[in-house]
Amino acid sequence: MKTPSSLLEHAIRSPKRGNVAIMPYLTAGYPNKEDFCELLQAVSVEADAIELGVPFSDPMADGATIQGSSEVALANGVSVRWILGMLASCGPLQAPVVLMSYLNPLLAYGLRNLVRDAADVGVHGFIIPDLPDEEGEQLDQLCEDAGLARIQLVTPVTSSDRLRRLCHRSGGFVYAVTVTGTTGGKLDIGQVSAYLDRVRKVSSKPVCAGFGIAERSDVQALEGHAEGVIVGSALIRALGRGEDGALFVRALVQD
């Protein structure tokens, strides 16, 4: 039987269009709770996987855009409980979903219940930016038992020994943070390509690049250097301007 983790890996390796898998980031419940399921459905048609952000009051690794969307979502009353309930009632999506959350909201929900309930509503894995490998023992075990992916992040300053270990331990794909800094910064394509090549060399899992990827030209430039790209802040800004999220995602890949 295929696990959610292996289904996620497969989805990244076989993009619907073009040569790079597109993984949009959405802050759950942004811009509003009422239409969010509809937005998720529409985006899932265009996306190869979706990173669904759990809003947190103190998002240490995020730039101003995602801080802002998190504040709006929290003011809208979004919680882990609401997100899992929304996924349960939203119906099947056209792309696998991974939850991106800082650790504390997950601890408050309870890790054991979280993994069980997330698996029940079709979540494929977790990205937790403030849970480095050394602190992740309990969650890693729970994810392994449930067949969910615990996606590891690597960065340009991760040492080569550590890079090898994190790539080996990552489930579904490896999240290669392109820059030292927070989400939504600027990208230096030359430097990033060399770094991604270094990650891909030691990783048996597909590599997805995230942070600073905003438009089609960025996606094109990374073709051949990563199996997938994560687009977050630029999409959140578009949603904030009232644009159509699905069209934004569609436009990231040339037909």
């Binding site: 103190d58 240490m60 882990v80 408050a108 960065t155 030292t180």
Partner: protein
């Protein structure tokens, strides 16, 4: 578990744990930088050359040892033998300088070019700006917009000392938001920037490192009171926000089973979430700013806004070693209200001629509580800072400040 194991270096363990508390919950970008800091700090603290430099600077530039003052009039008024450890007389006006100087010397030794820091009341910011000026390091201080307004004298001091001040308007716009923003700065340049964290919080090794630099308070106080009173105190009392002055006072007394340890938190204006900063007395376990400790949060794990009349205690977290001392019952944590702190501030001014910081006034109000329950005992209070910075708040609090 014996008190000896607490003192004997068993905590933190190799993973930065104090029992279940502590650890290192940070973005991957910072993992390497924290490990370099851990190794660099351990080497420095084991190097007699570094310790000699630090001791000389503490003596010549900071003005240590700070005095121990016996408060005869206030002690008589409260019915106790009251002693104050005078960190308010240290250079820049608070205990924060002990850690700022120590870490700045470490930053220089480790080859850092640029220092970033957060500040709440501004005392850590002033101390860091002063230490960086003294050692020739570039300094940027993140400070919440709310705190910039209520502690403007310290902002002006930092600017004079050559620091760049960044106003933080995100989130709470207080200390907690300033720490988030300083960490974001550090994430952007983890290799050449040194994050000079001011409280005993944050990811390992900070809670340990800050404790090591602040323990000079308790070591001096223990020796001084032993010489002058010919006994150890019945209780040692300090205010607790993040907990740096308290852990500095407590740590050298942990093995002395006869000395009770009291940490006093900010009870603010009431018990409702958002009206106080009494983390240990009212909070629950969670991860904030890189460490597993006790924090003020709602049922969904979202960090809550806090209130305290004192900017330096206005923080929803607390250092992991305090969480352990509380769990073991070695230290007891209580809270006093804004009003109790201000009353103690007025009494110290009128009876002893000392204007304490509002933060430190919480410790004094705690001593008053202790005195009601334990008359005739010997009480050591850490007067962590002076109150010059608080004049605007004191005058805003009461139309007749001389009668507080």
């Amino acid at each position: 578990m014996t008190w000896d194991s607490l003192m004997g270096g068993a905590f933190p363990d190799a993973r930065g744990r104090y029992g279940v508390w502590g650890g290192r919950y940070v973005p991957e970008t910072l993992v390497g930088a924290l490990e370099r800091l851990n190794v660099g700090a351990r080497e420095a603290l084991a190097d007699t050359g570094f310790i000699d430099d630090l001791s000389r600077e503490l003596h010549d530039w900071v003005g240590r040892p700070t005095p121990l003052t016996r408060c005869k009039r206030l002690g008589a008024h409260w019915g106790i033998d009251l002693w104050l450890k005078r960190e308010d007389l240290a250079h820049t006006g608070a205990h924060k300088i002990n850690n700022a100087l120590g870490q700045a010397l470490l930053a220089k030794r480790m080859g850092a070019k640029r220092v970033v820091a957060e500040t709440g009341a501004g005392q850590h910011g002033v101390a860091t700006a002063a230490a960086c000026a003294h050692l020739g390091l570039e300094c940027t201080v993140y400070m919440g917009a709310v705190d910039i307004k209520r502690q403007s004298a310290n902002v002006r001091r930092m600017r004079l000392l050559g620091a760049k001040i960044v106003s933080v308007t995100s989130g709470s716009a207080t200390l907690r938001a300033a720490i988030n923003e300083a960490m974001r700065d550090w994430v952007s340049d983890p290799e050449t920037t040194f994050y000079l964290l001011g409280s005993a919080v944050g990811p390992h090794p900070y809670p340990w490192l800050v404790r090591e630099f602040q323990s000079v308070i308790g070591r001096e106080a223990r020796r001084q009171i032993n010489e002058r009173a010919d006994c150890l105190p019945d209780v040692a009392i300090a205010c607790v926000g993040g907990g740096s002055n308290a852990i500095g006072l407590f740590h050298p007394f942990i093995r002395d089973a006869s000395v009770k340890l009291w940490g006093i938190e900010a009870g603010g204006r009431g018990d409702a979430l958002g009206d106080h900063s009494a983390t240990i007395t009212q909070g629950s376990a969670g991860v904030l700013h890189g460490s597993f400790s006790v924090m003020l949060q709602n049922d969904d794990g979202q960090v809550q806004e806090t209130h305290s009349i004192s900017a330096g205690l206005d923080y929803p977290g607390v250092g992991p070693e305090h969480a352990l001392l509380n769990e073991l019952g070695r230290a007891r944590y209580r809270s006093v209200t804004d009003a109790q702190a201000m009353e103690a501030l007025g009494e110290l001014c009128r009876l002893e001629g000392i204007l304490p910081a509002i933060e430190s006034s919480h410790a004094l109000a705690g001593a008053k509580l202790w005195a009601e329950e334990n008359p005739g005992t010997t009480v050591l209070v850490n007067l962590s800072g002076r109150g010059d910075k608080d004049l605007d708040i004191i005058e805003g609090y009461s139309a007749t400040p001389e009668a507080i």
